[in-house]
């Protein structure tokens, strides 16, 4: 347990397991440097994000009550975080009554242990997977592999990522960083049964994946899924998808194991009417995604006989403990903020180092893992934003991401100060500037004296300055040279006016 002082000393619930896929090796700046040099990645992202932004805008414009739906979605999610313990117990009761079994997992390691033993109990050595962020977060596939169990990803993009030994870079479109030719090569090399002359047409690539996966669906008897929404009132799980791989996994195998973050609850069945409108339009820019399944417990002769759900904390209670940051738990994983974000579009999802990339990742990952410790990569995430606000504009549940980013920056600064960390150049610069800017006399003199800099360079602008911070600016762009400050000009003019007035009076 960690004690953090934000004016109020208190005990914070534990962060996510260190084994979670929530933190990269490097901070954002260093991770982004490499990605930014990948022109193919930049082109893929610009093409994809640009297209989806246009689609989303059209789908949202079409709905006259979209803003009302956002308000309802936001309020419902506040209700969920405000009442999370009660709602979880209500969900457990309903889910159990419907024939399912509820498991609770404090962290990633515990969740992996539970799922592994459930798969073993089912007697399976191979399992089907439906795309799920929570299982990426806990690195379930790796844990299963360690136990000798093979997980087959059935979502096309997740399959692409899995075949490439890669990690997802987008919440909804995990292989957004790869284009058709890259996927063509990958399938030719690694997809069982793919013809050697496989073309690069998405239609053809998709058909190849379909043929491979159809056999997997028919063979396997255990599946693992996530959940988009879980209804506390009825114990219903809802899974939103496009390809039908979710439906296959939810109906064919006799054992189904869902892994779900505890924040994914919604209060009542009726509330699906809000979220099932917000999600598809925000996510893929469709009026409705091709398939949505809503099911409650086990179904006779039409679905799994054994149904389990693992309710996962893994740092979520730590997020909840920050009243200024907890609304990050309201996220419904639509990705609208990623698609809208100019930083994401250029640096790509991998630069964030976490299962959760983009603006939402920048506020979620650091809160789940904490930002403490020297050179904690996730302490850089709240700064990975120009605070342009595009993410907040499109968030279907109105998470004020820019405000939380700024809050987390202040948390980082305060936590470092309280831990007695060595002052860095920013601490020094900000303290100095604060002192200067609250000493009006000195400030006035310094601003007026800035003109002296201009004497050294009477024309043009600065280009490359070998200075800390300013050097980062002038490495890429010119900087104006301070000449006569505004206040110097203003004072001069006032003086001239006064003397003109005086001489006018004398003349009278």
């Amino acid at each position: 347990m960690t004690t953090v002082n934000l004016g109020m000393p208190r005990v914070r619930p534990p962060y996510a397991s260190a084994s979670s896929a929530l933190m990269g090796a490097d901070g954002f700046r260093d991770a982004a440097k490499g990605e930014l040099q990948d022109d193919q990645l930049r082109a893929n992202l610009a093409h994809a994000a640009g297209g989806i932004r246009t689609k989303r805008a059209k789908a949202v414009r079409e709905l006259r009550d979209f803003q009302q739906l956002r308000s309802a979605g936001s309020a419902l999610k506040w209700h969920v975080t405000d009442h999370l313990p009660e709602l979880l117990e209500q969900f457990e009761e309903a889910f159990t009554a419907a024939g399912g079994t509820v498991h609770w997992a404090r962290d990633a390691d515990e969740a992996n242990r539970i799922v592994t033993s459930l798969v073993r109990d089912a007697g399976s050595e191979k399992v089907l997977k439906v795309k799920s962020m929570a299982t990426q977060e806990i690195r379930l596939n790796e844990a299963l592999a360690d136990a000798g169990i093979t997980a087959v990803e059935t979502d096309l993009a997740e399959l692409i990522v899995q075949l490439a030994g890669d990690t997802p870079s987008h919440i909804v479109v995990p292989a957004i960083h790869r284009n058709r030719r890259q996927i063509q090569q990958l399938f030719r090399d690694h997809l069982p049964g793919a013809p050697a002359d496989l073309g690069d047409d998405p239609q053809e690539l998709t058909a190849a994946a379909r043929r491979f996966l159809r056999e997997q669906f028919l063979q396997m008897d255990t599946a693992i899924c996530g959940a988009n929404f879980a209804v506390a009132e009825t114990g219903t799980l809802s899974i939103v998808e496009s390809e039908g791989n979710g439906r296959m996994c939810l109906t064919l195998p006799s054992t189904l194991i869902a892994v779900m973050g505890i924040e994914k609850l919604i209060p009542t069945f009726q509330d699906l009417e809000v979220f099932l409108q917000l999600l598809p339009r925000s996510s893929t820019g469709e009026r409705m995604n091709p398939y949505t399944t809503m099911f409650t417990g086990t179904q006779a002769a039409d679905g799994p006989e054994n149904l389990h759900i693992v309710l996962l904390d893994n740092g979520r209670s730590a997020v909840l403990s920050d009243p200024h940051g907890r609304s990050a738990l309201h996220c419904i994983r639509c990705s609208a903020c990623l698609n809208a974000c100019p930083v994401y579009e250029r640096a790509g999802g991998h630069a964030y180092g976490s299962t959760y990339p983009g603006p939402i990742g920048a506020i979620l990952s650091p809160q789940m893992t904490g930002m403490e410790g020297e050179d904690n990569p996730n302490a850089t995430l709240p700064y990975a934003s120009s605070l342009c606000g595009a993410c907040y504009d499109v968030c279907p549940v109105k998470i004020n991401i820019p405000e939380i980013l700024v809050h987390l920056r202040s948390r980082d600064v305060d936590e470092r100060a309280e831990a007695g960390a060595k002052r860095n150049q920013w601490d020094a610069a900000m303290a100095g500037a604060s002192k200067l800017m609250s000493s009006p006399g000195t400030y006035d003199a310094v601003v007026r004296a800035s003109a002296l800099i201009g004497r050294a360079k009477p024309r043009g602008n600065f280009s490359n300055l070998p200075l800390p911070m300013i050097g980062d600016w002038t490495q890429f762009r010119d900087l104006p040279v301070p000449r006569e400050s505004f206040r110097s000009w203003y004072t001069k003019r006032e003086k001239a006016r006064r003397s003109a007035d005086a001489s006018n009076k004398e003349q009278k």
């Binding site: 619930p13 534990p14 093409h47 994809a48 297209g51 006259r64 308000s71 309802a72 506040w78 209700h79 405000d82 009442h83 999370l84 313990p85 979880l88 117990e89 457990e92 498991h103 609770w104 096309l156 993009a157 479109v173 292989a175 957004i176 284009n179 058709r180 998709t206 058909a207 379909r210 159809r214 219903t236 496009s242 390809e243 039908g244 791989n245 439906r247 296959m248 009542t268 069945f269 009726q270 009417e273 009026r287 409705m288 995604n289 091709p290 398939y291 949505t292 809503m294 099911f295 409650t296 417990g297 179904q299 002769a301 039409d302 679905g303 904390d313 209670s317 403990s321 009243p323 200024h324």
Partner: protein, 228 residues
Amino acid sequence: MSDAKTEILQRLRTALDQPRPNPITALEDVPRDYQGPDAKAETTTGIDKVLAALTKTLTEYGAGVQMVEEADVTDTIAELLDEGAVAVHAPDLPEAWLPSAQAQLVADHGSLDARSLDDVDAVITGCHTAIAMTGTLALKDDGIGGRRIISLIPDHHIVVVRPEDTVVGVPACVQRMREDDPSAAWTWISGPSATSDIELERVDGVHGPRRLDVVLIAPPAQGDQDAS
């Protein structure tokens, strides 16, 4: 060993001890001024307009749509089925809808497994509620919508929609589901299965049926009652 549930709930309660700046949201305070099941657009839109909108949204997502008189449903389905196709259907569909001459029709009574369904060419089901604004067909796993598995594995899905089962918006559909049985297994289908995972280019037909045909039953013509 302290059990995980107790500990997680304790963590959450500790976390919530830190009050947030805004007041707690009670469920009844959630603003629901969006277009609900009782909204004017939902209750006063004429059936012709609703069906026209449904046709448009279904078509835009790649479904084949035709509107026919109830008496012609059977011929329409027969035409939609490929020559020599084997088709399965939900068990409680009205006899009158099914093409009588088609010997290859099989009613699903729960015995067909995934492998045998993989050899079936088409599936015919009804629909619980159709949403015009989104082109969505809500299927319940009953004798009309069929088991979830039958509308999934065959490559061609034919859905018959009755005009009285169409609504304008999503909330009206959710209300009908709640009034019926929220605990049933529900599947919402909006167009054929699709993916946009490669360069966000939409490709129809991944694991679910690649072809979706919707047969809309025409509403009784205006003034029919007077004539009779």
